[in-house]
């Protein structure tokens, strides 16, 4: 019974991990034979590659801002839509829709809306006389924040569903007995709903954290990490090590360095997740 699972796990999980753990010590461009270079990929990463650390900084900015915006909005929307009213099902579906859309298509649509030369947003703002000249939403200064907003738009529906599942797991008897004691609506929220949902919130935040660290598809389509790395994130940087993009000239894949970057990035996410779980241990003790 276990054999199919073991085979699939070995092929799709174990083998890639072992591959990465091997080649992080090699210089390998897939054309020539791999050359063992010891720890040089890591030396380069820590001492000779400031661009990578720029992508790490961008990633933390992206993750932090995305979570700060997404989770409260998703929670509030979940609370509102958890009640049945006319059209609530339709609104839920509309908000959930971006989650099932292909993120690259979504990003392409946002590019058409936001680009500074023919974007719909600038046109609308100009017709409403809210701005004089078009704003470059994807400029060096604005690109990363714009990517966050696109990411938020795509994520709210997903976390809304998680929060709704959590809200529905809170026993109704607790609310009923509290109402008999004359509890107010804000008290209900802060004294019952949120405390009872702490384990769910903890899990949702962890999933959002890991998911946001790995976001790259929409950024790749929207800005390609530019201009000049302004919106480049660490997984997009790794991607380019394996699939170097150059429209007109020779560019060389760097599998070995990409493998080393993957290990370091996975470690960064692991450390952040571990720290988060340690810091939120008490959230399990609510019940």
């Amino acid at each position: 019974m276990l054999l199919p699972n073991v085979i699939m796990f070995s092929i799709f999980t174990l083998y890639p991990v072992c591959w990465v753990l091997k080649y992080m010590f090699y210089q390998y461009d897939k054309v020539h034979e791999p050359i063992f270079i010891g720890l040089d990929n890591f030396v380069r990463l820590f001492t000779r590659d400031p661009y990578f650390w720029k992508t790490v900084g961008n990633t933390f900015y992206y993750v932090g801002l995305k979570l700060i915006i997404t989770l409260p909005i998703a929670f509030i929307v979940a609370v509102i839509l958890n009640r049945k009213f006319f059209g609530s099902e339709t609104i839920r579906s509309i908000i959930f829709l971006p989650t099932i859309m292909c993120s690259s298509v979504m990003a392409l649509i946002f590019y058409l809306i936001l680009n500074p030369y023919s974007g719909a947003l600038n046109m609308i703002l100009q017709r409403l006389h809210l701005i004089g000249a078009p704003i470059n939403w994807l400029s060096y200064q604005n690109a990363l924040t714009t990517c966050v907003i696109v990411g938020v738009w795509g994520a709210i529906g997903n976390y809304m569903v998680y929060f709704m599942a959590g809200l529905q797991s809170v026993p109704q008897e607790i609310y009923e007995s509290a109402e008999l004691d004359g509890i107010t609506a804000p008290q209900k929220m802060f004294k019952i709903t949120i405390p009872m949902m702490m384990p769910v919130i903890k899990t949702v935040v962890m999933l959002a954290l890991i998911g946001s660290f790995q976001d790259m598809q929409s950024i790749m389509v929207l800005t390609e990490g530019g201009p000049n790395g302004a919106s480049d994130v660490m997984f997009l940087y790794i991607y380019r090590m394996f699939f170097p993009v150059s429209a007109t000239t020779a560019s060389t894949a760097q599998y070995g360095y990409g493998a080393a970057l993957s290990v370091v990035c996975a470690s960064i996410i692991g450390i952040v997740t571990f720290a988060y779980l340690q810091a939120t241990k008490h959230m399990d003790d609510i019940y």
Binding site: D29, P116, S118, L138, S139, E224, F243, S246, T252
Partner: protein, 451 residues
């Protein structure tokens, strides 16, 4: 019962016969991938005709890919789902075909075909051959020029097509000052992808102004980016003047073309082999446009590099090399090439095709589309050089856009020299990069001085 069994046997026999027929009728599929969209409307009927008329039971499956073509191609080959024939223009030649994916065609190419394509002068190492192996057949020649809107020039009172850096800067400024109120700007460049933008400007301007390709000096075997800073400074100046179209940092080439087709851009740089097809078939426009010369500093030290000498390559992994070569021979036949040339969809480098075709209307209308005496085929710079940090496209794009941290152009060039030459030396030392030095290299005669 016996009758039933007999019926069953007959039915089984019929089924196997039909199955046999089905197998016999199964066609040999030859899959072609390309990133060329401009000639799609011409090539497709040619392929349909081949599929209907060929006697070898071959079916061509023709697939066109948009941006990220090289990535799609590499992924296809890595997963065993790659094409049999693929367009090998631009970086795909050096990154994919030259790096081992191309199947040598020497054993299949006939003497007649060799002569048809131009013989020795058309088959050149690093351009369509590697160490004597023919990896692609000669086809077209294409190189960037200045593309300008004649109507805008007229409205802005500009009479002379600019040729030097100073003239282009002044022209862009004049257009912007006079017409920006209508949303018309003097100059645009597709800097969303710095490699694509500078690959059609800086890379081709550095041949005539500095005798380099990709910053590489074939004579010394070193990268010398300090010699190309005047080109970068020229492009920067138009941004500093406010003459650049707003949002150039987010422009891909096709959105740029749509804005040009809408009459909102005075000048940009692009390829002779692409723009006519683009504005005839893809983004049809009423704009009266033409090619001007690629901009220089007024003193020529080398020819202008032209991308050419190759079209399709055959994958080393193809299971049907004979069928693929039959398809390749058809696509590079006089019939197909002549039709494409006459329609202005490519600029032929094959004398036989030029001789047997009418001068295309496109070249009559845009004379600089044709190959000029100042255009030439350069060898390719060393491949496989693994750079640490940002490549020169990103670095120079940062300067052109005026991004903080990229202000000091000389320091940027020195840093690029150091990093590129270190990577080159390392690659040569560990055997992953082949040293490329031509001591007698003459940029005014690049293909003839590679020894």
């Amino acid at each position: 019962m016996k009758r039933f069994l007999a019926l069953l046997c007959v039915a089984a026999l019929c089924l196997s016969a039909f199955a046999g027929l089905a197998v016999a009728e199964e066609k040999t599929k030859v899959v072609i991938w390309t990133n060329s969209r401009a000639d799609y409307d011409y090539v497709l009927p040619c392929i349909e005709k081949f599929n209907e008329t060929n006697e070898s039971n071959i079916e061509i499956v023709y697939e066109v890919y948009s941006d990220n073509y090289q990535q799609v191609l590499e992924l296809g080959f890595e997963t065993g789902n790659g094409p049999d024939l693929y367009c090998t223009s631009g970086p795909v030649w050096s990154n994919v075909t030259y790096n081992g994916q191309g199947r040598p065609l020497n054993d299949m190419l006939t003497e007649e075909q060799y002569a048809f394509f131009g013989g020795e002068k058309a088959f050149v190492n690093t351009i369509n051959m590697k160490d004597g192996d023919i990896l692609s057949l000669p086809y077209s020649i294409s190189t960037p020029r200045l593309v300008y809107n004649k109507d805008i020039f007229e409205r802005a009172g500009i009479e002379k097509v600019p040729e030097t850096f100073e003239e282009v800067i002044a022209t862009a400024k004049t257009i912007t000052e006079k017409l920006s109120g209508e949303g018309i700007y003097g100059f645009a460049i597709n800097l969303k992808g710095p490699a694509s933008a500078l690959g059609r400007t800086l890379d081709y301007m550095m041949g005539p102004t500095a005798g380099l390709i990709n910053g590489y000096n074939f004579k010394t075997g070193r990268y010398e980016f300090d010699k190309v800073t005047e080109i970068v400074a020229f492009l920067r100046q138009m941004f500093a003047d406010g003459s650049a179209f707003p949002g150039c940092d987010q422009l891909d080439i096709d959105p740029l073309r749509t804005q040009f087709a809408a009459g909102r851009i005075g000048m940009y740089y692009s390829y002779t082999g692409a723009e006519y097809g683009v504005y005839t078939n893809q983004f049809v426009t009423d704009v009266d446009w033409d090619f001007g010369p690629l901009t220089g500093n007024g003193t020529r030290v080398g020819l202008q590099n032209a991308d050419g000498g190759k079209w399709y390559a055959m994958s080393i992994d193809t299971k049907v090399p004979e069928a693929a070569f039959e398809v390749l021979s058809y696509l590079e036949s006089l019939e197909v090439l002549s039709g494409s040339y006459e329609q202005g969809l490519h600029i032929s480098m094959i004398d036989e095709v030029i001789k047997n075709s009418e001068v295309p209307a496109a070249i009559q209308a845009h004379p600089l589309m044709a190959k000029q005496e100042t255009d030439g085929l350069y060898p390719i710079a060393p491949t496989g050089v693994a750079i640490e940090g940002e490549d020169y496209y990103n670095v120079f794009a940062g300067h052109i856009l005026g991004i903080p941290g990229y202000e000091d152009l000389d320091a940027l060039a020195q840093d690029l020299n150091a990093r590129y030459n270190a990577a080159l030396d390392k690659g040569i030392a560990d055997g992953t990069v082949k040293e490329v030095v031509y001591p007698n290299f003459d940029p005014m005669n690049p293909a003839g001085s590679m020894n």
